[in-house]
Symmetry: C2
Subunit: 421 residues, 2 copies
């Protein structure tokens, strides 16, 4: 079954708001096994909305519209959909009562416009809205079902959860299961080359690649009669990917980020962490702290942006800064050692580099970054060359730091496991 | 002139990512005086993309596509657009060189896929991409211009700014001039109430509000025969807004962010800065450091996430943490004083709060944040209550910290000016 999403609202066309409703509805529909081939945005304009809706009704089994159910004259979604379906709008006594009560509770009087919200297309299924005055609507036509939802996310989301999801579940044939395989430290095209044969041969499950900064995500999706069967279909492909990418896969869980994977490793091995950042300027700490529960392992971050701060907070030697410069492997090494000495943490990581746009030289161009990681005294320093804007260089450095931390911790674990044997 | 936006990517259809590119492009196009009536999203599928693009080409003067320019086989946007326009793809020598250099710099070899990115439709205008390996493209057809941009926002945004915006500006009939008035520390609905009369009466210039985290941007846009005339038309409205919002306006420059405004203030008054962050975890430092040239004023950041770090790095008293807790006005005060003592910087700022999702209590709910700012020894502490996800609470706290810093510095300046008189 196919679904098509139409978001109605001039504020989306003007870019005043980001269309998070579409992302929410798309994810929900994908989870229900509905195929979505198109999404559209159209303004509060009857003619253009009718054109868009007509087109969607012709090619999809289900059309979900959001927005334009408000009380103002601009709000035309219900009127336009009813007209296209040849339904007339009739008063709904329940909703007239609801609107009365809603305004009474606030000591206000409904205006003429507000009563417009109690009108529904004849024969439509009326959906409850505990968070607002616009009812949701389902209009069942011969070949297509049209679902109308209010635009505010705090009304749309609960209405979808409570009323629309159960409705769609009893329509949907079978189920979809998706598994994501997340890889760090390998470039997108290298990943692509490694799985070209799998991509070419894909049927069910399908395999898709998503490039992120410093990461590549592979999504394996299967459809079957039940979720259990669909899950079973994804398994051989996931197994094959694990065989090909090995330790470069940091998780196969949707909700695990690279920073969470690193923190989980730290937690499982009872290791604590401190960051010392120069060019990344707090961004690495910020990503690590954004993981709920990070306080278990992340103890402190030192943003030593100036040379003075590097010397004072991390004991980097004046002679090192003079001889090698702030952006050097030697400085990165002293930063990471200083952070370990001061924090007494098991794992420390340090970044120093030239994020640009200025400050680059021929010997040390913009994008040059040194990252050092120390695990229980064992220090690794790596040199990187990133490209792009200041923000992009810093973002790449943060991903590289997480990837380096992960590999140093894994090495440490394998070392102690080996020694124990 | 009308513009239509097409976002290409199965990721968006699946709801894996929120379509922020469309919001960015829509806002930019509105600012250029282009009317946008439709936006669409379509997957990486040649047939459906062709159908969507054909429809857009028939009804708009300009079609902007984003996404699907990558090196993988999924990426079909360029191929599909070229086919629809009857253009063949030819090798672009500049881009072959660029790709060679890009991989050389990383000590890697391009794969067969990578060379696909050096192919461009014959006769197309090729746009530079300093942040990636996909060139942007403009294909000028008889009645429509098709603009192809890469999907990653860190490539799309700079390319739009540098190449697409100037191109669109010279197409627009007459001229458009936009001036942005950026306000911090005042809520969206308050701003809207204050300017309701101006919004209701708007013709030329128009007035639009854009809510950002902790900020509201007002955009005044006028169209006229020349840019000079258009600019003249915006002036009375901008003057009126300045009269209404006074010192809450931190800039009227498009490229000045709140963090840049704060750093400019520091620089102009020869003040240095150190941050001490708990709940914001490095995010405040990261925003400050992202401003080019920030090393002139930003000296160090201390991410004191654990109580131990607060005590050790900032001299927060054990008794304070025990008596008032880590999330308290008293702890914020000691953090900011400790940061001032240790760093010897003129201005210090400290954040401590409960970002959630866990850790909240009835007395100290999720979203409670204390922010302290010290300017030459004068300390101000404020209590805030933010809502939303962990990321949203932290983002709101960063904006509030910048707003507080700005007002404390302004107060300091006005104090010394007064004393001098």
């Amino acid at each position: 079954m196919t679904v098509e999403l139409i978001s109605v609202g001039t504020e989306i066309l003007l870019g005043s708001i980001v269309n998070t409703n579409a992302a929410y509805l798309a994810e929900q529909c994908a989870g229900l096994g509905l195929s979505c081939y198109y999404q559209s945005v159209v303004g509060d304009n009857a003619e253009r909305l009718a054109l868009t809706l007509k087109c969607a009704m012709e090619r999809a089994d289900i059309v979900i519209l959001s927005g334009g159910l408000g009380p103002t004259e601009d709000d035309l979604t219900k009127e336009t959909a009813a007209k296209l379906c040849g339904s007339r709008l009739v008063d709904n006594e329940d909703w007239r009562k609801r609107i009365s009560e809603f305004f009474d509770a606030r000591g206000m009087k409904p205006t003429e416009n507000n009563w417009k919200q109690a009108k529904v297309p004849e024969g439509a299924i009326v959906l409850d809205n505990p968070n607002g005055t616009a009812p949701g609507l389902i209009m069942e036509q011969k070949n297509v079902r049209i679902i109308l939802l209010p635009g505010p996310p705090n009304e749309l989301v609960p209405m979808f959860e409570t009323s629309v999801k159960p409705y769609l579940e009893q329509l949907a044939p079978g189920a979809i299961y998706s598994q994501t395989v997340k890889i760090c430290g390998v470039g997108e095209s290298k990943v692509e080359t490694e799985i070209k044969d799998l991509i070419d041969a894909q049927t069910n499950p399908t395999l898709a690649t998503y490039a992120k900064t410093g990461e590549v995500h592979l999504r394996v999706t299967a459809s079957a009669g039940s979720e259990k069967e669909a899950k079973k279909l994804t398994k051989p492909m996931v197994k094959e990917l694990k065989a090909r990418f090995g330790a470069d896969i940091y998780t196969t869980e949707d909700d695990v980020t690279l920073e969470k994977a690193v923190e989980d490793l730290l937690l499982a091995n009872k290791l604590t962490l401190t960051c010392a950042e120069s060019c990344t300027g707090g961004l690495l700490s910020a990503r690590l702290v954004n993981v709920p529960g990070s306080s278990e392992v992340f103890k402190a971050g030192l943003v030593t942006y100036s040379n003075k701060a590097k010397r004072k907070l991390l004991n980097v030697k004046k002679s090192t800064l003079q001889k090698y410069g702030a952006v050097s492997a030697k400085t990165a090494e002293e930063m990471v050692k200083g952070a370990a000495f001061i924090s007494k943490c098991d794992v420390t990581v340090a970044t120093t580099g030239i994020a640009g746009p200025d400050g680059g030289t021929k010997e040390k161009p913009v994008g040059l970054v040194y990252i050092a990681c120390s695990v229980k005294g064992k220090v690794t320093v790596k040199e990187y060359h990133f490209t792009g804007s200041r923000a992009k260089v810093r973002e790449s450095a943060v991903s590289a730091a997480l990837t380096l931390m992960r590999s140093c911790i894994l090495e440490y674990i394998s070392d102690i496991t080996f020694r124990k044997k």
